[in-house]
């Protein structure tokens, strides 16, 4: 017979035992291991998700900080630019003021030098001219310069123009004694003094007393003071003209 009942029953029992054994030694451990692994992976994924979230938050924080720093940097740069511009403007003004001051000082100094030079030149020229004129006059006409100046001044008194002839003699005297002062840069000899007194009496005032003064400040000349008027011949006039023309020449160069 193909079917043995004992074997059938034994095989049923064997099979059920095998089911229990495999459940005990195969399915349950394997399933548990897979579930444990699955849970572990889930846990790792959850941890990774949390870490990723934290990292995202951190990233966002750093991004904001970076933006703030960038904004701060721009603000600082702008502030620095403004400070630099302000400082530059201040320095420029200072430099300009210093340049202007130096220029004005230089102009002032230059003007002073120019004046000093002109004065010196004038003094030197007058001395030189006086010496030269004196020498020329003594060599050519056997006359000294002072005598020639006195002679010229006497001629000047005798050749007053119409206005001077009308106004000077009628002018009131500036002192009660009616004194007329003749100032000169040199001592006038007595002979010439007499000629001068005569010329004054004839041309200006007959009853006036004439006083003679020697003035050191005069360069080279003679002058008469009466009633607020002054009649003079002085080398200073020529020298002043020379000085003016010299200064014009210096300025043009």
């Amino acid at each position: 017979m193909l079917i043995d009942p004992f074997v059938v029953i034994a095989q049923i029992i064997n099979f059920l035992i095998l089911v229990w054994l495999l459940k005990r030694f195969l399915y349950k451990p394997i399933t548990s291991a897979m579930e444990a692994r699955s849970q572990r992976i889930q846990s790792q994924l959850a941890t990774a998700a949390i870490k990723e979230k934290d990292a995202e938050a951190e990233k966002e924080l750093y991004r904001q900080k970076q933006q703030e720093l960038e904004a701060q940097k721009q603000q600082w740069l702008e502030q620095a630019r403004q400070e630099v511009a302000t400082e530059k403007e201040i320095l420029r003004k200072q430099a300009q003021d210093e340049v202007n001051q130096a220029r004005s000082q230089w102009y002032e100094s230059f003007e002073q030098d120019k004046q000093k030079f002109a004065r010196k030149m004038r003094d030197s020229l007058s001395e030189q001219i006086a010496l030269t004129a004196r020498k020329v006059l003594s060599d050519l006409a056997n006359a000294n310069l002072e005598a020639q100046i006195t002679e010229t001044f006497i001629n000047r008194l005798y050749n007053l123009d119409e206005l001077e002839t009308e106004t000077i003699p009628t002018a009131p005297s500036s002192n009660p004694n009616n004194i007329i002062t003749i100032r000169s840069s040199f001592i006038i000899p007595d002979e010439n003094r007499k000629r001068l007194i005569t010329a004054v009496a004839e041309q200006i005032a007959t009853n006036a007393e004439v006083q003679f003064e020697t003035v050191e400040d005069f360069i080279c000349g003679i002058e008469l003071l009466y009633g607020g008027y002054k009649i003079s011949w002085n080398l200073e006039h020529y020298l002043t003209e020379l000085e003016s023309s010299t200064l014009l020449m210096v300025d043009s160069h």
Partner: protein, 222 residues
């Protein structure tokens, strides 16, 4: 030549008979349990696992996926029963290339025992899932109560067909190889033995799937 391993008797007293079917069944049981114990005694929950664990995981997962595909249900309650059916039959058949080995599945007693197990497992799973009345209404009174006798015949015929199909395939394969060995013993049995391995694996799959189809029919409303 013995038609089934039942006829190879090693020891007998009364009705108690220790034949090749039982001996090789115990051998297979021992090998399966030993192999499972060797692998599962040092399981690792990490992603770095041994080859044996990998093999068993693939096997268990594959069985679970097949059950899920067939039943459209969570496979966990069915894996031990269906999985053991598949593994036992497959190992029984695949070891047939060993000289002197007689597959227990070549015994009608074994296939009948397995079919009887399925026969009882179907109502057990059905009642557990749908309740006693739900199971009987669904499984025996459909489409009409008049079909009750035919349904009962159908259940029995299913069981018989399961047993006879497996027995016939395995027994015939063994018989053909035996006959060929006596006629042309050198090379001709080799391709047929190779085909027998394929047939054995397919039969294990068919038996397990048909058992699962029966259980799924008892445990679902569709």
């Amino acid at each position: 030549m013995n038609l089934t391993p039942d006829q190879t008797i090693y020891w007998q007293r009364g009705i108690i008979t220790i034949n090749a079917t039982l001996v090789f069944t115990w051998l297979i049981m021992f090998l399966l349990v030993l192999g499972s114990w060797l692998v599962t005694r040092k399981l690792s929950p990490s992603t770095n696992i041994s080859r044996g664990q990998n093999l068993l995981e693939v096997l268990v997962l594959g069985i679970g996926n097949q059950i899920k595909e067939v039943s459209q249900q969570e496979p966990k309650p069915y894996v031990p029963f269906i999985g053991t059916l598949f593994i036992f039959i497959a190992v029984s058949n695949l070891l047939s290339f060993i000289p002197g080995y007689q597959p227990p599945t070549g015994s009608l007693s074994t296939t009948a025992a397995l079919a009887i197990c399925v026969f009882f497992a179907v109502p057990l799973y059905g009642i557990k899932k749908q309740g006693l009345m739900g199971y009987f209404k669904k499984y025996y009174l459909q489409p009409t109560p008049f079909m009750l006798p035919f349904n009962i015949i159908g259940r029995f015929s299913n069981t018989i067909s399961l047993a006879v199909r497996l027995f016939g395939n395995v027994m015939s394969g063994t018989m053909i190889v035996g006959i060929l060995l006596s006629i042309a013993p050198l090379f001709l049995p080799i391709p047929l033995q190779a085909m027998g391995l394929l047939t054995g694996a397919i039969q294990a799959y068919i038996f397990a799937i048909l058992a699962m189809v029966s259980i799924a029919a008892a445990t679902t409303n569709n």
